[in-house]
Symmetry: C2
Subunit: 342 residues, 2 copies
C-alpha cells in the first residue's frame, strides 16, 4: 500500500486506468472559438431542445454521456459507475441528466474542479479493482450560471473586466481497466485554500493559490519537474489568475512559463469574442480536455499532460455574508505510456 | 478483481475498513429527542457561536470532525482524505467547515444520502490501498434548509402533514485500514430512481422507490436476507415513506418489518415534538449512525447493520419548473466481525 502513496496528496496508480472514450458538447460561443473543430457536437440551440436552460444543461450532459458511450461502443450497462456533478444548486444538471441511464452513481461537488475530481475518483475505483469501466462527467451553462450566481441574462448586467465567461459545455470521459491510453498515472488531491479574496467577480485571483498549492505538492511528491510535461493545463484561472499562479509558483522555484496553458484562455478567442478574463465553468476545462487534449494525446502530439482544474467553493449566500472564497485544485497526470511500474 | 464485485451495484471489501472514531453534534430539538444521550455535543445555540445559520452549520461540521479526531487521538495530518458534503447550495457547510484543516478533500453531493456516500467512497479508497485513514462527514441545519428550500423560519409557514423536519446535526465517521471495528464489509451503490412524484413536501414518497431499488439489489447480489441483519436502517423516509418502502419490498418478496427502522423516526419523538412525518436532512441519519448505532455496535448490542440513507436530488428550481424528484440510496453493510474472507 505504501508504494501507492507518494506523499500527503499524491498517489501513483499501479495499474493505470486508460481513457476508453470521451466526448465534448458545446453551444454557440464554443462554436466561434478556436477549439470548435474538436467538439463532438455544437448545438446552435442553447436550450438543447428543452424548455428551460436548466433542463437544457441536463440534456447536454445526457448528450455527452451518450456520445462518449457511442464512440466507445458501450451501453449504460457496461459502466460500473458514473461520477459527476455540476455548478447548479443541488447539482440538478447531473441528477436529471443521468436519471434515465440507470448507472450506479456517486454524486460529486467540486465546482469547476469537478472534471478532475470525477476522473480522479473513477481512476482510483478502477485501480482499486472495484470497477472495470467508469464514467466521469460535468457541465456548465452560461445562462443557468448567470441566473444562479449573478443576474438572469436578459437583465443585461455589465461585466467586470476580471469576470470570466461560463462555458455552455459538457465533457464526459470514460475510463477503463483495459485500453490503449492515454493512461491516468498520478493523482494529486487538493486541499481547500483560502487566501482571503472576497471579490466573486475575480475568481482567477481566488483560485490561483489553490492551483499553486496542488501543483507544488505534485512536483514535490512525484519528483517531477514542469519540463517532464508537454502541457500543464489549469482550468479556469483566466488571464489574471494565470499570471498570479505563475508568480506564486515562481516564488517556490517552479517555472511553469514554458509549458503552461489555462483552459479558460484556450476555449475562446478572448478579444474577438469579448470574453474579458477568459472562459470558466465546469464545462470549460471538461470540453478542452475531452475535445482538444485527449485527441492530441491519442494522436501522440502530446505525450504527457498534467490536468489541474480548480474550483471556487463559494455560493452567492457566502458572498452576501461577507465570506472569502475557498478554492480547491485537483491534478491528474495523463500519459500515452503506461507508467505504472515506474 | 472479479471477486470484489458481487453484481451490478454491490462490492465486497476484501480488507474491510474499520470505523476508527465517530462523533455526532446536535442542537436544541435533538436534545429533546430520544437519542439525546448518544450525541457528543448538543448546542443550545443554533448559531453555534457564528453570526449566521450558514456559518453555524460550518461550525457544526468543524466540531464534528474535531470531536471525532479527538476521540480517536488523531490530528488533521493523520487523515489522508476527507469526503464530505451537505445540502446547502454549493455545499458551503462543508467547504467553510473544512477550510482550516488542510486535509486533502473530495467534495460530494448526495443530498441526504451523503453520509452513506462518504463512508462508501472512504471505504473504497482505504480498501484500494490509497488511504490509511479517511473521514466521512455531513451536516444539515433546520434554519439554513428552511431558508433555502422553503421559507425563512421567521416567516412562520405552515407545514404539510407529510413534511419532515430537517435535523440540525452533523456526523463524522473516521475509517481506517486498521482498527477493532465495526467494519464496512459491503457497499451497494445506488442508481437514480424517479417514479414521478412531484410534491417536494412529500420526500418520503419520492425516496422510497430508490431505497427499494438499492435494498433489493443488496439482498439479491449478496445472497443475504433481511434476517441476516440486526437492523436495517433507512434515512430519512419518515413515517409515510417507510410504509411505502415496506409495501414495495413486500411485492419483491422481501419482508423488512421485523428489523427495519428509519433514522427519521428515531431522532425525535414525533408526537411530543410535533415533527409531522419525521426527521430528515443529511444530519439526521449522520447523527443516528454516528451517535446511537455505532455505539451500539461497539458494545456488541448490534452485530450487523445495513445503513441505507436516501437522498432526494431535487432543487427548488427543478420543482418550480415542474420536474419530478429523482432520488438515490446507497447501502453500507457494517459488521462487528471482519467478514472480508467470506
Amino acid at each position: 500500500m505504501q508504494s501507492k502513496r507518494l506523499g500527503r496528496q499524491t498517489v501513483r496508480l499501479t495499474r493505470p486506468p486508460s481513457v476508453v472514450s470521451f466526448a465534448a458538447i458545446g453551444s454557440r460561443q464554443e462554436a466561434k472559438g478556436p477549439l470548435a473543430a474538436y467538439f463532438d457536437e455544437l448545438s446552435p440551440d442553447s436550450f438543447f431542445g428543452a424548455k428551460t436552460w436548466e433542463q437544457g444543461e441536463s440534456a447536454m450532459q445526457s448528450m455527452a454521456l451518450q456520445r462518449a458511450m457511442q464512440k466507445g461502443g458501450l451501453k449504460p450497462a457496461d459502466l460500473d459507475y458514473m461520477l459527476a456533478g455540476d455548478l447548479l444548486n443541488q447539482c440538478i444538471g447531473t441528477s436529471f441528466g443521468l436519471r434515465d441511464f440507470r448507472i450506479p452513481f456517486w454524486g460529486l461537488y467540486g465546482a469547476c474542479s469537478t472534471m478532475g475530481e470525477s476522473i480522479a475518483i473513477a481512476s482510483l475505483l478502477i485501480d482499486g479493482g472495484f470497477a472495470r469501466l467508469a464514467g466521469a462527467m460535468t457541465s456548465s451553462h452560461y445562462c443557468t450560471a448567470e441566473r444562479q450566481y449573478r443576474m438572469p441574462v436578459p437583465y443585461g448586467s455589465q461585466r467586470a473586466p476580471t469576470a470570466q465567461w461560463t462555458a455552455t459545455a459538457a465533457g464526459c470521459c470514460i475510463l477503463g481497466a483495459q485500453g490503449d491510453g492515454p493512461y491516468v498515472t498520478h493523482i494529486t488531491c487538493g486541499r481547500i485554500v483560502d487566501m482571503g479574496i472576497t471579490d466573486a467577480a475575480n475568481m482567477g485571483a481566488a483560485m490561483a493559490p489553490a492551483a499553486c498549492d496542488t501543483l507544488s505538492a505534485h512536483f514535490r511528491e512525484t519528483g517531477r519537474k514542469p519540463a517532464d510535461y508537454d502541457l500543464i493545463l489549469t482550468g479556469d484561472l483566466g488571464a489574471l489568475g494565470r499570471e498570479i499562479l505563475l508568480d506564486l509558483l515562481g516564488r517556490d522555484g517552479i517555472d511553469l512559463r514554458g509549458n503552461h496553458n489555462d483552459c479558460g484562455l484556450m476555449l475562446y478567442d478572448l478579444q474577438k469574442q469579448d470574453m474579458h478574463a477568459g472562459g470558466s465553468g465546469c464545462g470549460c476545462c471538461a470540453a478542452v480536455l475531452n475535445g482538444y487534449v485527449l485527441r492530441q494525446m491519442r494522436q501522440k502530439k502530446l505525450q504527457r499532460v498534467l490536468f489541474a482544474p480548480t474550483g471556487a467553493l463559494l455560493s452567492p449566500t457566502s458572498t452576501f455574508q461577507g465570506e472569502s472564497i475557498p478554492s480547491i485544485c485537483h491534478a491528474i497526470s495523463f500519459s500515452v505510456e503506461k507508467e505504472g511500474a515506474n
